[in-house]
Amino acid sequence: MSPSESELRASLHAGEGDQLDVDAVLAQARSTSRDRRRNRLAIGGAVVAVLAVAGVITGVQLNHDDHQQTGAPAPSGSPAQMVPSCPGSAPIVPQSYAQATGPLFPADVTAIKVCLYNAEQLTKSKDVTGPAAASYAKRFNDLPVVAKGQVCPLFVTPYTIAMLPVTPNGPAPTVVGKIGGCGQTSNGTGARNAGDLLRELETGLGVGAPGGGTGGSVSHGPIVPSHSVSFGPGPS
């Protein structure tokens, strides 16, 4: 070590020993730390608020898209987002409908997933929500109960319509109908001859069953209207 370095060290150490005001240092450190924590919380709160607003906007946008898809306004609670998906193959019409007098749809239905099958294969589906769903549910329920011993023509098309109702409490039993014959439709506890309505739904899906629901020229089934029906609210 050179002498000059020793002198430098001694000179640098000269005058040391002043005490710091520890309380002041601690108070300032606490204050700064508190401010930083407050700032972090404010920033975190702002981020959460922005994310919440973005989430609401996204939800509203998605809901709006669903409305455009069905052409009907969805009620609050976004039931369209809860509509289940169609089964891959046509469900079998429940066979216990012979004297089933219960309703096909629950009274508080908020959405219906309509699935059209051709020869057991899913060909088309559509969501019906809001008032349109409630209207269809009422129209199905209001149809006359299948009379005991009723004889239906055996003509049956390869077309099946499955309707998956959704209520505020969740999905309800699936309603299945076969196009043709009497248009027998059942959910296991209720059964109706719904040829007209099934045909209307089928037309609304944009897929016409060849020969109509009554077997073309054969006039032993329900009369089917030939007009095109959209998925708007129907007569109640």
């Binding site: 430098l8 005058g15 040391e16 002043d18 710091l20 601690l26 730390s33």
Partner: protein
């Protein structure tokens, strides 16, 4: 939870040395106190998570000082009116040699001053000085040599 008692003990034990190092770096008692306060506040926020609090505080001290000497667009502006000159540091004895040393230290660049303080006041090795300043050891050596040369030249003339 922060152990404030340990932090208080640390400040009481190491505060004087940190304050003196800051005074050597800044050449001004008031700025030195601000610098130490700033470094200790940063240490307080990391207290309990820093294995070597003194090394951390020294590093913050020198880096904060060097950063503060860099001129920024929002920094100091030339003015026609001179501010009050700081009073002579009462903590340093009014020795001519020491006044001369303070004057010479001020003429060094901030990095040179930091190297001198860390190497010859804090007695850090070249490696530790390099770690504190986050520069290569070679840069510490060359900077220290340059600073000593300037100080010696000044002393000798």
């Amino acid at each position: 939870m922060r152990d404030e008692t340990a932090f208080r003990d640390f400040v009481q034990a190491k505060g004087p040395a940190l304050l003196h190092a800051a005074r050597l770096l800044t050449g001004d008692h008031q700025r030195a106190e601000d610098l130490v306060q700033s470094a200790l506040t940063k240490l307080y926020q990391r207290w309990g998570r820093t294995r070597e609090p003194m090394a951390y505080t020294r590093r913050v001290l020198v880096s904060t000082h060097i950063d503060s000497t860099r001129r920024r667009w929002w920094g100091e502006r030339p003015t026609a009116t001179m501010p009050d000159q700081p009073a002579p540091d009462p903590a340093l004895p009014a020795s001519e040699d020491r006044d001369e040393l303070r004057r010479m230290l001020r003429e060094l660049t901030p990095l040179e001053r930091a190297v001198v303080v860390l190497r010859y006041y804090c007695d850090l090795t070249e490696k530790d000085t390099a770690a504190a300043l986050r520069i290569p050891v070679g840069t510490v050596k060359s900077t220290a040599a340059r600073a000593l040369a300037r100080l010696r030249v000044e002393v000798m003339t």
